[in-house]
Every structure is written in C-alpha cells, then in structure tokens.
C-alpha cells in the first residue's frame, strides 16, 4: 500500500495530512486543480470541482497529470468513478473555442458536432449566436461574447477564448523598484496573468495584491481602469501606485461618490458603478470613457452582480481579478470564471506563511458572564434585541480595558458594531472612535496617526474597518459584530493580521457573553478561524481580570 500524504475521498474532497513528509510536495501538486476548503492544524481539506478542473485545464494541465498526481500521493485506492469524472470534466473544457475569423469576426468553433448541436439547441444560447457557417462554426455577435461564455459554462461546456484582446490606448507605466523588490511570486503572478490574457490571481490577504496589479499594468503599458470596493481602498491603491510605479499624481484619477476624474489610470469604486439614478446605472459610460487596455477588479469575490453584467460587455479588454479566495458567498464562482477569466495564479497559503509574508496569529475568545439582572432582561427580550443586549453589555468594558492595558507596548484596534457601545469604550479607553459618520479626511488623519505610532488605541466601527490597511496593528479586540459572511470575516481579520515588521505574532481577541446569541456567533467565528489554521483558545473573563497569563 502506498503511504502517501493524501486521502482521496469519494465525495471529491482530498484530505492532506500535513505532518507527512511529502505533504508540501503533494500540496504544490494538487493546488492547481483543487480548491483549499479548510486548513486546521492536522488535516487540510481540498475539494475537486468542475471549475477547479477547468481552471487547471486553462493553466495547461491535462487530465492525465491530474490523475497521476492523485494516484501518486494517495494513500488508498482512488475511487474509480472520481478518476473517470476528472477525465470527463477536463475533457469538456476547450471543446468549444471562441475565435476571431478574418471574414466573419467572432465565431464559436467546435470540432465535435454533437457538442455543438447540444449547445446550439439550448434556448439560452440561440439568441446569442448568428449564422451557422458550417458544421463546426457559428457566428457570434461580438457584444455577446461574455454572455455566451457565461451560458456555455452553465451548460457545462466552458469555451476557451482565443478571440484575443484590443490593445487599448497605450500609456507608459514602469515599476520603480527603489527600496523594495517585486517578490518572485508577485512577478510570477503578473507573468502568468499576462500570458493567459485574462484571469484571476489568488493571493492571501497581505501578500501584496496591489503590487501584482501594478506589475500587470507595467506589462500592459496601457490605460487602466481599476475597480475597488470603496473609497479608502481607492486611496490606498493610488498611494501604492504612486510609490511603486512611474505614474504621477496627474495620471491617476479617482472616480467615486465625491470625485469624478477620468485619467489614464482611473480608480473607481463598485459603489459608484452600481449607483442607480432613475432606475439606470448612472456611471456605466466610464467603461467607454477611454479605450482601456486593462481592467483590474480588486476583491473579485465581492464583485457586485451588476458589475458582472457590465463585464460581460467588455470581453475584448484584458481583465485581471485579484482576490484572496475564489469562494463566493453567492455561489457565482462560475461567473468569475467565465467573465473575468480562469484562475491564473494561486500560491498555497502555508508556503507564504513559511516565507514570512503572512503573520501568524493567536486567537483568543474571552467569555464574560452576564450579571443576574442582565440575564433576566436577556431571557425576556424580544428575539431581535437579544444579540444587541448580549453583545453590548457593559460587563465587557473592564475586560477590554484590561486587555488594552496588557498590550501596553502594542497598537490595539477595538472593533465593534454598536455605536453607543463604541463611544462608551472610547471614553473608557481615552481613544478616538472612527465610525461611518467620521469624515474621510478625519479618518485618514487618525489612521495615519495610528500607523506612525502617535496613536496607540483606536476604536473602529464595522463600517469603517472595512478594507482598511493598518499593518502595524498587533492586537485586535472585537467586542461586537455579528458573523456575516465568511469572506467578510476573513477580510476583516486579514486586515489586522498583516505581517509585522518584527515578525511577532498578532493577537485577536473576541469578547463574548456566555450562553447567549453572542456565543453562538462566536462559535461560527471559531470554526472559521480554526479552519484557516489559526490557533484558537477560550479563556474566562475572570482569568483576564485577575491578570492571569492568557
């Protein structure tokens, strides 16, 4: 019997025993076609999905090598049906090809007649294609390129897009590597995107996705439209680009709620693009405002649905997606695949951590017990008030104070959801509070003070902490905040758990009320964090208050 590190399960998951001596090697081999689902301390789970297999095909891997990898590292017999399925799924990618015909323009080509007949029979495909040229070819209207790819994927016959791209308006962009260097994985990521034409680069939080974007721009040397999640993020992109490239202040425009600049490099927020005026998307013309040579989508996994629709129309432009995870809460991974492109680069999380690009983190859940009278109120409260009552209890305040005091030589973020709770905590701690009502300018000022060490403690609301880059925060204390989507949580934690200059371990505290909804949400968080491989402990508030080492 083979003694490999991998167990191939019949439900298409792969279990990787990470203490095995071949684990690293096996991980590298399966990463191109299997998605990492969770990575707790001993056994990591990967999943084989059709999309993952097509991604692998797009990256040049064939079924045989996937099967070989599975057989090579598998400890037990690999289920026969799974092997067959791998081959069949991978064989489906690329049977249909979108090509550019000198006479007819865009065409859909397929050497396999039954497949072509099958897809052309579909009611959803029929309106997207034009005249049948011969047995193997049918004309496609150029504006339906994205739609068609989307529908074909839904039918299980993803098309390979050979129709090429427009170059866009040329614009000189170079990287300026003074005082920093492009890390080799960043270079590889940008290169594999460029050779693939369009696609998604998957990198963990803190691995420098902005720099990958900049590197891609320096390869495209063309006008670029960058789509980001919000204004703070837009500003961060801008300052990074100024720092890392030859671009100047005048060349970079911001297109957001407050400013509407269109320049050779324009950074726009998803928000402004999806703003509707009288039922219409008011800022769609941005896509046609210039002859863009490259479009960058930051945080692809958060891409709002309308943006997908716009993206379908611009399939002739190069598209780069950046994300930490391809998993989308709404299950639209296939739209990412068909509209932005297949995964072009993915670096295993553990490799990055080993190289010190990602911070190790220590997660501690501190449990407080509600006093008798609050428990009574909680017990009789309406359902919708319960969480608030449990999460915003003042019992948490002394614990937070104690924790802040404990980390007196580190910078601390206190994160919460309820404004009055935050205000109260701010007062207790003598720290400024940043929430949705804080003006952008004021926010940036506070963040800057926090970054340079002038400010040691900052209290932030959920709205404000989203997508903020505070690499020097060594400690985060979450006092309230329901558990939303998995990505949101990852994002938030990822932000504060950036690698530290001195490589020290980041701390994440969650203060929760025992036996309440608060604790139930904490259980979800605990699972999520444990699945990400973070160490997770539970301690008693009394131990914290007594000053025990936790």
């Amino acid at each position: 019997m083979n003694d490999g590190p991998l167990i191939v399960q019949s439900d298409r998951t792969l279990l990787l025993e990470i203490d095995h001596e071949l684990a690293q090697e096996a991980r590298r081999s399966i990463a191109p076609f299997a998605e990492l689902e969770r990575s707790p301390e001993h056994v990591h789970t990967y999943r084989i999905t059709p999309l993952g297999l097509w991604n692998a095909r797009a990256a040049g891997l064939d079924a045989e090598s996937v099967v070989d990898t599975l057989l090579k590292y598998s400890r037990y017999a690999v289920p026969h049906s799974l092997l067959v399925d791998v081959a069949e799924q991978m064989d489906r990618y690329g049977r249909l090809k979108l090509e550019k015909d000198p006479v007819h323009g865009l065409t859909l080509h397929c050497a396999d007649l039954p497949v072509l007949e099958e897809v052309l029979k579909s009611k959803r495909i029929q309106p997207l294609v034009g005249k049948r040229l011969d047995d193997e070819t049918v004309v496609v209207h150029p504006s339906e390129r994205g739609q068609l790819k989307q529908q074909l994927l839904k039918l299980g016959w993803p098309a390979e897009d050979f129709a090429g791209y427009v170059d866009g308006e040329a614009h000189e962009i170079e990287l300026v590597q003074n005082g920093w260097e492009l890390r080799n994985y960043q270079e590889m990521a940008a290169e594999s995107f460029w050779h693939g034409g369009s696609g998604v680069v998957v990198l963990p939080c803190g691995a420098g996705k902005t720099i990958v974007g900049a590197a891609a721009m320096s390869l495209a040397k063309a006008t670029t439209l960058i789509l980001v999640t919000n204004t703070v993020s837009a500003r961060q992109w801008k300052s990074e680009l100024l720092k890392r490239t030859t671009l100047t202040e005048e060349e970079i425009g911001e297109y957001s709620g407050s400013k509407k600049e269109v320049r050779p490099v324009t950074i726009a927020t998803y928000q402004v693009l999806t703003t509707k005026k009288q039922g219409n998307y008011a800022h769609l013309e941005l896509f046609d405002a210039k002859d863009w040579g490259l479009i960058i989508y930051d945080e692809v996994h958060l891409l709002p649905a309308p943006v997908f629709r716009f993206t379908a129309d611009i399939q002739a432009r190069r598209r780069l997606g950046l994300t930490a995870t391809l998993v989308r809460e709404d299950g639209r991974e296939d739209d990412v695949f068909s509209l932005i492109g297949p995964k072009r680069f993915d670096s295993p999380w553990k490799d990055m951590a080993d190289q010190g690009w990602i911070a190790p983190a220590d997660c501690v859940e501190v449990r407080v017990t509600l006093p008798e009278h609050e428990r009574l109120i909680y017990a009789t409260a309406e359902k919708e008030d319960k969480y608030r009552l449990a999460a915003a209890t003042t019992t948490k305040n002394p614990v937070v104070e104690r924790l802040v005091a404990k980390h007196s030589d580190d910078r601390v973020l206190v994160i919460g959801q309820y404004l009055d709770q935050l205000a109260e905590l701010g007062q207790h701690l003598g720290a400024p509070v940043v929430d949705g009502s804080t003006p952008i300018k004021e926010r940036e000022k506070l963040f800057e003070r926090f970054r340079n060490g002038d400010l040691r403690v900052l209290v932030v609301s959920k709205v404000a902490n989203f997508s903020l880059d505070l690499p020097e925060a060594g400690v985060a204390i979450q006092v309230s905040g329901s558990f939303g989507s998995r990505q949101e949580e990852a994002q938030r934690l990822g932000r504060v758990l950036r690698p530290k200059a001195d490589k020290r371990t980041a701390r994440f505290y969650a203060v929760v009320s025992r036996d309440t909804l608060d604790a139930d949400f904490a259980a979800n968080r605990q699972r999520f964090l444990a699945e990400q491989g973070y160490a997770y402990r539970i301690v008693d508030a009394d131990d914290v208050l007594e000053g025990k080492d936790v």
Partner: protein, 751 residues
C-alpha cells in the same frame, strides 16, 4: 437459432449427395422409464441435480418420474439451461426419425468432434436416451423446439411434390447459375434460420421470366415457397441440400472466445477493487442510516419514487444508477424492507443494525453474496417500458439475472490474471451459453453486471479481482447439493432472530484487499475528527454517535456540534465517557474549544447518566425507525438443485418403489419414548446431522397413533420431512403430532 450464420457460397455446392432426412436404421432403446430404471444411483443423482423440478415433490415411482421428465415445461427448462451447440444438436435430433444412431447424426454434422459432449449432456438430463447404436428423444422435444428447429422451415414435400426435383444438388446449381443478382443475399438471410422472409411487394403469380426481384425468381423456381401474402419460406428439403455437409453452422460447437483488451497489474486491480468494496459498504451504511431517520414512502406499485431515488443519489454523492444498485442490494440482503403500516415506508430492517456492527469485510461479504444471488436488475431503473420503471418495484426483477451473473463470472474467472476482457465478446460468449434466452436481455444483463461488479468491488480497473474470483467460485445459482446443505446450516440467526449471512470465502477474499483498519483519529480545533483511513467499526460507531459525518471514502471526517454532543449526552453518554474515549483514541491533543463545548453542554443539561447498562450497538438510535416486517430466509434461486439429504432419500424412495420387496429395516426393540415438545427440534436436528434413523409415534389424520420408522431429512416450518420406510416414500410429519421418538438404528452413510 444461430447467431453466427455462415453464408454458403452457391458456387461451391457440396460434392457428395446430401443425406436424406428420413432414412433411419437403428436399434430401439426402449422406453424412457426402463432407461431410468437401468441407471445407477450416480446417474440418477446427476439427473435430479440438473432437473430439480423432478424431485419437487418426489415422484412415487419411476413411471411417474419418467412421465414428469417428458413434459413440455420440464424439457423447456432443461433446454433453457443448455449452450448453443447442445441445443442445436437437440434441434437437429428433433428433425430426425427415431430411433437414430450416433453415426447417422455424425454424418449430418460433418463428424463434429463435439457431438459426443452434446449427446452425453442430453442423455444426462434425460432428453434423449439409449446407446450410440440407437437413441430416442422425449416426444415433446419436437414441440419445445418448434417452430423452426435448427433454423429449418417445415417440410413441404406432401403439398409440393415438385420439391423432390428441386431439392437436388444438380438442379439447385442450375437454378443459381441463371439467377439474377442478389439471390445469394436472399439465401443468406434464410439459410440458417429463421427460414421465413417477409417481403413488401410480392407478386405471387410471378414466373421465372416475369420475376422482378430475386425473391420472385427463387419463388418461381420453387426454392422459396410463398406461405402468405408477403411471406416466403425456405422448405426444409431445400435447406438440407443448401446447407451441405454440415447441417449446423461451422464453428457453432466451440465456445466463442473472449479476447483480451488490456492487461493490468493484478495488485493494482485488487487495490482498486478493495477501495470500491469499501466505498460500497460505506455508501450502503450512509444511505440506510439516513433512510432510518427519514424513510421514503413505498409507492403503490411497491417501488421507490423517482424523487427519493434522486435524493438517495445525493446522499451518496453518486449518480442514480448507483443509488438504485444500493437500494436493490439492500433489499436483496434483507437490510431494507417495506413495513406493514397503512402508509408503508421503506425502512432498514433490524438486521441492518446487526450488519453494521460487523467488520467491513463481513459487511461486504453480506452485500456481495446478496448481489450475486439477487434477481434484481438495478440498471432497468429509469427505463421506460409501458411506464417508467422505479427502483425497488417488481419490474426490476428478472429471474434470469443470477444465472447470467454466474455464467459471466465463470467466464471472467477463466481469463488469465489481470486480463481486461472485450465486453462485446463476453456478450457473445454468454449468448452462446444460453441461446434460448432473449438475446437483448442477456446483453443488457451482461453489460449491467460488468458495471455493477466494478461498483461493488468484484472488479477493479475493469478487471476481475480476487473478490470477483471468489464470487465466481461460489456459483450460487447452481451450488452443489452439499454446498446448499452446508449454507443452510451456517446461516444461523443471532439471538434476536435476524439473519446476516457472511460467507467465510468472501470475507477471506476481500480482507487483504481492504486497507488496514485504523483505531485512532485526529481531533482538530475546528471541532472535527479525522480517521485517516478505514476505521475500526467500534471507533466509527462511537464517533457516529458523538458527531455528524462530513466526509466519507477511505477516510472519515466527523464534526462535533452542540446538537451532536447533546444527542450523545441524551443517549446516556457522560462527559467522562466522552473524554475518556477521546483520550484513548485521539492521536492529537483534545482541542480546548471542544472541551469547552462539552463543559457548556453539561452545564446546561446536567451530567446525568441515565443508565449503567452498556449501549446496545444493534439498537437503532432514538428517532430512527425500523421495518417491522419479519424477513423470511431467502429461498434458493430458481433452478438450484435440492439439498443433499433430500436427494439421497429421493433416490432411495424411487429404488424402493421399483422393488417393493426390498427389506424394510426392522424396528429395534426400543419403543419410542415420550419427548417434550421443547426438545423435539434439537433431537431431530441431531438425528439429521448424524444420519440416524428414528422411530416416532405419530398421530395420523384419522386420529390413530402409529409408530413410523423414518429417515429424517429436514425440519422446517413446523414440519419434519423424512423418508418413511413403511410407505417407501418421502413425506412430511407435523411436529405437533409427534409424541414420542427413539433412535432406532444407525444408517449406513448414504451416498
């Protein structure tokens, strides 16, 4: 009749004069009954083993045996079990006048060396009898092989005297010399049967000169005879001439060979089969587990709704064919049954609870044997005949299935190790073995079973594995009488009365193929436990109680949640039990959050241990339902020979009936002693096992109590079956009427 018809080339007509069909000069072998009487015990036994219908019930004497052996239904059953060559020979015999000699037959078949085998098979089964110099066939044979024995049409010589002229080599040659194009093709179609052609446009008045088609030309020449408005028939007289030296197609006497597509490493094959077998067992457990909690309804026709099959396929994460195979195998193994309520449900049986406590290899053996002997054909599920066929419905039943499975496995066993056979050849092979069965059905069965064998772990990588060989050697459809006797005795019910059959041969076959069972697991901070390989059953059972299974396959992953641990606590586990279990079997530290979760729960629920009794693994968990149906042991497959004691007694009875003066064994001096009802069965079983004769005091229907000297054969369903020496016949005695018993005299060991 013949799938592989060999076209005869008209240009090469036979050189010698074809034999006339009605020319006989052979010894008369006498009547069938005399033939039976003259056979020794071994030959009789052979006959009865192959024709079990002859001993059910045991005939009173040889005359009755012979009469039953010559009935249409019995002979049909015999022929259905024979291969293409033997059937073809039988069909040729049916065209001959009787008695006939072997020599005469050999000439007609071009001295085919396989003729001897065919004759001896037919003789052993009592279809024909006599010596080489003169034989007869049972008269009903002609009826059974009608309408076209050996592919021949009827004789037309009476109605069409002109046929005498046509049916000669010279005349035929003349006719074909002048024939228009396409005549050869027409003859090819009818020569080896069926001899009837349906033609769209047929001018029955056509003459040689006005014939427009080859059909009309041949008709005008008298080679074909119009037997209907659009129907032409090749008369037997002409076919005899056309077929030439051999009345049967060349090559029919040899078993079609199975070519080899690929050869694979036997070890890799076994590994794959072991993996598939393990997977199959796991899927079965998973599916029935879930059906125990949320059972699907029984449709009015007795089947499983399509919706439920789809759900089942999702549970197993496989396609619907596999779900159907699982459901059908569960049914066949007695692990699943419909209950008897007003709105019946498909539910696991109590035997399922017993089954799941066994080792993987034992569990597999139960499933594999059930599959082998099952008459269910899951691949029919989803097919449309008049209506869509549902899983678990009566339409899925094909009595032919086990027989074909057995033949198929035998064919696969005969291939070299690691050889991947060509499936088309296998279809031909099996069709040759059972030519009288519907060829389409046989093909469907062969192809389905090949797939099923892959899934169940009898084959790996498309090649028969060690497990499949073991199954092939069992040949359950035709086990020897001794094997059946042994099997019946080994299937002993557990104390609760549920039967789980695990054949040691199968257990041994799969055991080394399965990955080694693992008795530890890894506990992780995300509250999962991973057993990194096939688990020891008690560890898995415990984890199943404590958590929810998340992933299956070679390894298993369980997730602990508040509700899963709560369930365990409610079923009487204490926190200490659980912690002790984790400490004992976890190879990693117990994650702190897990301990916290458990503490929280105990704080909420209170750590009350409900009972000190050990939890009975064979009891379903609360909330799980079980079928109330009492399952009877499965009957032996149709066509199985009677078990050994019955056979011996039957022959003995037949012999005694021939010779009524045979010495009746004297009763011993001991009169029967009163026997309490509670001890009766064990006394009788012992007597059967030890081959003892007994005397019983038996109350007859008229109320008289008589001593009966008898050889007990079996005890079943409240009846003792035995050979009654006084009546010289096999009869049943009601156990309730037996008041006293005694061992009378040790019998000689019967043959």
């Amino acid at each position: 009749m013949t799938p592989n018809a060999i076209p005869i080339k008209i240009g090469q007509m036979p050189t010698k004069t074809p034999p006339k069909p009605r020319k006989v000069k052979a010894d008369d072998p006498g009547a069938l009954v005399d033939w039976f009487k003259s056979q020794d015990d071994d030959r009789l036994r052979d006959l009865l083993v192959h024709r079990p219908d002859l001993v059910h019930p045991v005939p009173a004497d040889m005359a009755k045996l012979a009469a039953r052996a010559a009935t249409n239904s019995s002979i049909t059953r015999v022929l259905d079990q024979l291969d293409a060559w033997v059937v073809a020979v039988a069909e040729v015999i049916a065209c001959l006048d009787e008695p006939f000699g072997k020599k005469e037959l050999a000439v007609l078949l071009n001295n085919d060396p396989e003729l001897d085998r065919a004759l001896s098979v037919l003789k052993a089964r009592g279809v024909i009898w006599g010596t080489d110099k003169g034989m007869r066939a049972v008269p009903v044979l002609k009826e059974v092989v009608a309408p076209h024995p050996a592919g021949f049409g009827p004789c037309f010589i009476e109605e069409r005297p002109d046929l005498t002229a046509v049916a000669s080599k010279e005349r035929i040659k003349q006719i074909f010399d002048k024939a228009p194009k396409g005549v050869d093709d027409v003859i090819d179609k009818v020569l080896w049967g069926p001899p009837v052609l349906v033609v769209d446009k047929l001018n029955r008045e056509a003459t040689t000169s006005s014939a427009k088609t080859p059909y009309e030309y041949l008709m005008a020449q008298g080679v074909l005879i119009a037997t209907g408005r659009h129907e032409l028939t090749l008369p037997r007289e002409v076919a005899f001439v056309l077929r030439g030296e051999n009345l049967l197609p060349e090559g029919l006497s040899t078993l079609p060979e199975v070519s080899i597509k690929n050869t694979r490493d036997a070890q890799a094959v076994d590994k794959a089969a072991g993996g598939a077998g393990l997977h199959f067992v796991q899927m079965m457990e998973e599916l029935l587990d879930i059906w125990g909690e949320t059972p699907p309804a029984v449709l009015r026709n007795g089947g499983l709704a399509q919706r439920d099959l789809t759900l089942a396929s999702r549970i197993c994460d496989e396609d619907e064919n596999i779900a159907a195979l699982l459901a059908e195998t569960a049914l066949a193994a007695g692990l699943l049954a419909a209950d008897e309520s007003n709105e019946p449900l498909w539910l696991p049986t109590p035997a399922f609870d017993l089954w799941r406590t066994r080792t993987v290899q034992e569990r597999w053996a139960t499933l594999a044997e059930a599959w082998l002997t099952s008459t269910r054909v899951p691949s029919l599920v989803g097919k449309n005949e008049q209506v869509r066929i549902n899983a678990l419905s009566p339409e899925v039943d094909k009595p032919l299935a086990p027989e074909i499975k057995s033949i198929l496995l035998k064919a696969l066993v005969s291939l070299p190790l690691g050889a991947e056979p060509n499936e088309d050849d296998l279809v031909k092979h099996v069709n040759w073995q059972r030519p009288r069965r519907e060829a389409e059905l046989v093909e469907l069965l062969v192809r389905s079973f090949m797939q099923e064998a892959n899934l169940i772990g009898a084959r790996g990588l498309g090649v028969l594995a060690t497990t499949g060989r073991a199954l092939g050697e069992m040949r359950y459809t035709m086990p020897s009488p001794e094997a059946r006797t042994a099997a019946a005795r080994s299937a002993v019910a557990d104390p609760k009365g549920h039967v789980i059959k695990t054949d040691p041969l199968l257990v041994e076959a799969i055991a080394p193929l399965l990955p080694e069972a693992i008795d530890h697991f890894l506990l992780q901070a995300d509250l999962t436990a991973v057993i990194p390989g096939p688990p020891e059953s008690h560890v898995a059972a415990e984890l199943r109680l404590l958590g929810y299974q998340e992933s299956r396959g070679a390894a298993q992953v369980y997730r602990f949640t508040e509700s899963s641990l709560k369930r365990a606590l409610e079923r009487g586990k204490s926190k200490d039990d659980i912690m002790a279990f984790f400490t004992k079997y976890s190879s990693t530290e117990i994650p702190q959050p897990l301990e916290y979760l458990l503490n929280d729960l105990v704080r909420q629920l209170g750590d009350v241990k409900i009972t000190d009794d050990p939890i009975d693994d064979t009891e379903p968990a609360p909330g799980e339902k079980r079928s109330t149906v009492k399952l009877r042991p499965r009957p032996a497959p149709e066509g199985s020979p009677p078990d050994a004691p019955l056979l011996i007694s039957a022959i003995k009875a037949l012999r005694l009936s021939e010779n009524p003066k045979a010495k009746i064994p004297e009763n011993g001096s001991n009169p029967p002693e009163p026997m309490p009802a509670s001890e009766l069965v064990s006394f009788l079983s012992k007597a059967i096992d030890e081959n003892q004769s007994i005397t019983i005091s038996y109350a007859e229907g008229d109320g008289t109590v008589k001593d009966r000297f008898t050889d007990p054969i079996r005890v079943q369903g409240g009846l003792l079956t035995g050979f009654d020496h006084t009546e010289t016949r096999i009869r049943d005695y009601a156990l309730s009427r037996i008041s006293a018993t005694v061992i009378t005299k040790a019998k000689k060991n019967g043959k």
